[in-house]
Amino acid sequence: MSGVAESRAPSSGALPEPFDGYGGAPSAWREFWESFSANRGALLGLAVVGAFALVALLAPWLAPYDPSAVHEGAFKLPPAWQEGGSMAHVLGTDDVGRDLLSRLIHGARISMGVGFMVVAFSMTTGVAIGLTAGYAGGWIDAAIMRMTDVMMSLPSILLAIVVVTILGQDLSNAIVAVGVVVVPNFVRLVRASVLAEKGKPYVVASRSFGAGHFRQAVVNILPNCLAPVIVQATLGFSDGILNVAALGFLGLGAKPPTAEWGTMLSDGRAYIESASWLVTFPGLCILAVVLAFNLLGDGLRDALDPRLKR
């Protein structure tokens, strides 16, 4: 980061202006937004994420029907534009006559919620553990790092399957299982940043003023380690949504009547030849959300962390 400071110094040989706070320089937020909004992919990602979030919030008002309502005589109705489809069920109906569009809209609610909870769980746990490891150092650090090594060498989906089997099949247990599996990512990230910050002059200065360990770790160091955490949290959303959907697909996620995309996909699999829309649309939704979060995460990384800029 010292390179940035040097490049700001006037090259003409005149004395640098006295430091006057941040008055002259663009605010951090503005600088971030200019860099972020120049990236069209990131803006697209943000727009799609925003759209899905809106759909999730307004699901009960947007959905034409109740997601669990069974429409008699409308089993496996194809989408409106196919032969035999009707405008009453734009994306068709499933094998027991539930409106697919309504189920997908309510599914957005579940998937966005799942992503949020996976990230909230793994981020808070991972940041706390990573901060402890990086700040404490010594044998505590070594022990924590070995534990993350162990977790990262176990195939993630297998670990999640075992955790769900222990806790019982349920959406909330699937969230915990997937959250546990991604904790090591946050631990390593935070630890690495803490190690980089620990020796910096501001930390040493603060210690000389008598700052305690808690103040050093949480108030001084942590805020300076957050940029990569924000990026990882965004990417964690896509990981979380994807893995919980995968568990749903394996029959270990949300229980059947719930309109969860992975579970819907698993149910629709039996009708792949006769009613392919039951497979196509839930998968497209998963792909769109995951892609959008990945785009957003890439854009955030480029904007927040100039060192990683490609």
Binding site: V150, L154, I157, L159, V162, T165, S238, V279, L287, R310
Partner: protein, 337 residues
């Protein structure tokens, strides 16, 4: 280099012990009694139940059970499957080649397409190719492979009828296991091109599904690594010396750009194992992924703890080899960590 190797070993061994502890502990936390599952809730007298429990060593205390597990594991014995009665190692060896074959072909597919895509995208930066290939790899990177597998089946198997839906080879072929790799064994069994082609057709879709995310990762890594190398001074020097543009890119550029790419390929091994669980489920592929999922459901303790230990060891082994290769290629790495 030797010092680096020794340091790495000091990390690998505790990790392996940790993996064995986790594998041992996790499966015992799963509710359900394996002996009861085996003999059924009714129909077993308490004496038979106790006898069965003792036969599998499940009547001993947990530390003793772990000690026994580790002692025989070090000697190469991972116990017997409660379900089939066969040795865990034996069952693993039966299925591992199927997963390995699928993984190899998937990785081959990923490199075959991902590498050229990345190179072209970097060389023709900001061209139509660059945007197209990078969009493809971005979509590929976000792909839910359990859905992608189904879409491939829907299109190529159901609508076009080009490829079979599941299994490793047509049922008309009787191929005794020799190496475990069907692409090899068909020749030994004298099935010739017809058998080989059948095995290839069975591999096409699962390998594509499993290889998609690695393909995307390789294409992205190749592009960024190539872009970095293209800006180096030695590239310009080589051009100035009169080497052709293509020659510079292949000889001077690619060779140096490939170091991080090879690392990424090595690290994708772990991903392949994870992806195999889903891919094998979709395509009814008789590999270790499906076997382990079924064993968790059946509470087959020895299989799950042994299988997890074996898979994790394989992943750790591959990652360590990648680290060593990287340290060998890049002396800076040896001094760090």
């Amino acid at each position: 280099m030797l010092a680096f190797l020794v340091r790495r070993l000091f990390v690998v061994i505790p990790t392996l012990v940790g993996v064995s502890l986790v594998a041992f502990a996790l499966i015992r936390l799963v509710p359900g009694d394996p002996v009861l599952l085996l003999i059924g809730e009714r129909g077993a007298s308490p004496e038979v139940y106790e006898q069965m429990k003792a036969a599998y060593g499940l009547d001993k205390s947990l530390p003793t059970q772990y000690g026994l597990f580790m002692r025989s594991a070090v000697a190469g014995d991972l116990g017997q499957s409660i379900h089939s009665g066969r040795g865990v190692l034996e069952e693993f060896a039966d299925r591992f080649p199927a997963t390995l074959e699928l993984g190899f072909v998937a990785l081959f597919f990923a490199v075959l397409f991902g590498l050229p895509m990345g190179i072209v995208a970097a060389v023709k930066r900001n061209s139509v190719f660059d945007y197209a290939f990078m969009s493809v790899s971005l979509v590929g990177y976000s792909m839910p492979i359990f859905w992608w597998g189904l879409i491939l089946i829907l299109f190529f198997s159901v609508q076009l009828g080009w490829t079979p839906v599941s299994g490793r080879i047509g049922i008309v072929y009787d191929v005794p296991a020799w190496s475990g790799f069907l692409l090899v064994d068909v020749w030994k069994a004298g099935e010739g091109w017809a058998g080989f082609w059948s095995a290839v057709r069975h591999l096409l879709l699962p390998a594509t599904a499993l290889g998609t995310i690695p393909l995307a990762a390789i294409a992205r890594m190749t592009r960024s690594s190539m872009l970095e190398v293209l800006g180096e001074d030695y590239m310009r020097t080589a051009r100035a010396k009169g080497v052709s543009r293509a020659g510079v890119i292949v000889v001077h550029g690619l060779r140096n750009a490939l170091v991080p790419v090879v690392t990424v390929i090595g690290l994708l091994a772990g991903h392949i194992v994870t992806g195999a669980v889903l891919t094998e489920t979709i395509f009814s592929w008789p590999g270790i992924g499906r076997w382990l999922v079924a064993s968790v459901a059946a509470r087959d303790y020895p299989v799950v703890q042994g299988g997890i230990l074996l898979i994790a060891s394989a992943v750790i082994l591959i990652n360590t080899m990648v680290d060593l290769a990287y340290a060998w290629a890049n002396p800076k790495m040896r001094l760090q960590s």
